[in-house]
Symmetry: none
Subunit: 205 residues, 4 copies
């Protein structure tokens, strides 16, 4: 068997953890809950992860990866850059707005990270990845379109993702207040507002 049984169990445990955490939140999730969800004994969970912390760290990494994957997909889908910005933004919002289990877990553990240093590493990496994606696809594309950013380009993706995450939090608290359509529209306006046309640059490159 390519996939050793242990690896399979580990994956099942991590998967179940994400489901339970999304449902109940970190503070209300016990290893017993997770064990029940996988259909294993508590002992089995501890066999694969020595401590709850170790499991949570792995879970967070996995959840971040999942969100990052959708982020990557958001940017790589389109062929014609101009047209695809909107759909990319839409997808980025969807990842959050749908409140997928993984996105919930990331949001939840993000708050834990305020007081648990160990959780910060995967999150920092996730943000850096998200930044690199925007850098690569949005910033450079707009560059080709003869648009120049009005703010430090390195900050730009941080602004974008910050905005998305912040809006997500408002939506969690008050779902009525933040409509999908409005968000997408606003995002597009915003994204474009941050660039200005650089007219007489024929971009000989």
């Amino acid at each position: 068997m390519r996939y050793k049984k242990s690896e399979l169990s580990v994956d099942q445990i991590v998967g179940a953890s994400i489901r339970v955490l999304a449902r109940q939140g970190y503070a209300r999730t016990s290893l017993m809950d997770i064990a029940k969800e996988v259909g294993m004994s508590k002992g089995a969970v501890h066999y694969h992860f020595p401590t709850k912390e170790a499991l949570m760290s792995e879970v967070l990494t996995t959840a971040c990866d999942a969100v990052a994957d959708r982020t990557r997909a958001a940017w790589t889908e389109g062929d014609r850059p101009e047209a695809s910005i909107r759909s990319s933004l839409q997808e980025l919002w969807s990842v959050r707005a749908e409140l997928s289990d993984e996105a919930k877990v990331v949001a939840d553990l993000l708050a834990q990270a305020l007081h648990d240093r160990q959780l910060r590493a995967p999150l920092a990496e996730y943000y850096r990845f998200a930044v690199s994606q925007v850098d690569e696809h949005l910033t450079s594309h707009l560059d080709k379109l003869g648009l120049k950013p009005k703010v430090d380009p390195h900050l730009l993706p941080r602004l974008l993702h910050g905005l998305l995450d912040g809006l997500l939090m408002q939506r969690i608290v008050d779902p009525e207040a933040v409509k999908d359509e409005d968000v997408i529209n606003a995002l597009e306006v915003l994204a474009l507002s941050l660039f200005e046309l650089v007219p007489n640059t024929p971009d000989p490159q």
Copy 2:
């Protein structure tokens, strides 16, 4: 004094709760920790708040109020609207960037609200207040300056606060990545980018 003895104790408990929550986070804070911080017995805390949830709800309301107060102050300081936008934004960011105890508590309980409906009300109200402030001061001011928002004006404050909260989260996770100055600059650019000049409005006022 306007306070009844009991009200004084209630305030002390809430104050201590905010300090402890800021220090340790919701998941790691027990009523015992809070009782120690106020210098009361656990029983006394329960005398004033029947359950932990009730206390947390009150704590969140108080913390939101405190942040809202600083938000209000941020907008009312200036006399000359044009010049004060930057300082207002700066103040809004400072409330978060300084990571005051109250701001930490709001962030922490925000995550709890994901799974605890009861906590959502104070947060929703807080956001609505923040929205009203921006509406009142920024949107209307810019209106007077002959600037027209490019997005639904009601969404505008949500975007602003969303962005601020989102950037805060990134800063918690990776303090190096989000510099104060850059944030302020970007905010200003952004705020202004969302409006466009409406030329032939002589604004007779």
Copy 3:
């Protein structure tokens, strides 16, 4: 109430601990067992003793004190020194031979002390007390009788108690092999053998 309720509970817990430890030994005794024996909840035991270690430390101190009390009584009973040596030795052996709960606990925790430094202090003090008793009563009495010890007088009580404890261990392992009578006889012979008559010292005192 002179005796606060808490003190009473503490005493009950320590008492129950001694009974359970005597019955089951340290390695097989859980806090649950102790809680059942006192008729309290596990939580109540933890309310009075923050950790199992803290409880065990207190238990050992109490058990040592109990044995020390009987040791003290052993030496102070007699009026006529010459005649009472035998009865004192007998009593010292009885403390052990009867295998009172306290004596068992001391023996059990003594072995734990091999690997748990924290338990050594009460035991060291117990031995020092035992030494002082022998010093005070046996050594000085024999001195008055014109007998001079053949070994360093300070070591003498250590030899006596060492012998008693060592014989106890053999008896635990193989009860048939160590008869009470023989032990007492041997002890007396031994005790006297360690002194020699110093003839021409009229001891004018």
Copy 4:
């Protein structure tokens, strides 16, 4: 080699157990610790010893044998009986005072034996062996020298070993209190004190 593969493993496990027990004590030693020390899996340990008790029983037997071997050596070394008593006693003390792994294990499991009948057999046999050694070498030798024991000769070795074990316990608890030199001196005085010269017995045997 005389060993079957399996016997070799058994020996390795027992050896490792003695090392770990000496280091951590019975109450703190798990089969996992032992398995790690041998470099086997927990399963393998269970393959050779069905239960922990069975292993401990074997371990105790082995440890007792090791101590017994040194005891035997202590007595058989010398050629000239009179002179060698001191060196024999010294060796008997050294076995304990050095706190060899085996001696520690014997002391530790001795306490377990208080509550675990199964462990008593090997210890009882060990004591009986120790007794026989003293009988054979000390008692008979002294007999040849015209010395008559003042106490039941059968008890004599029990007294000797009891004393040694008891002093060891005191030394564990309070290392400063029991000096090697003093112990040896005292032992010699004691050993000789227990005999009296029987002058006109030419030993016709």
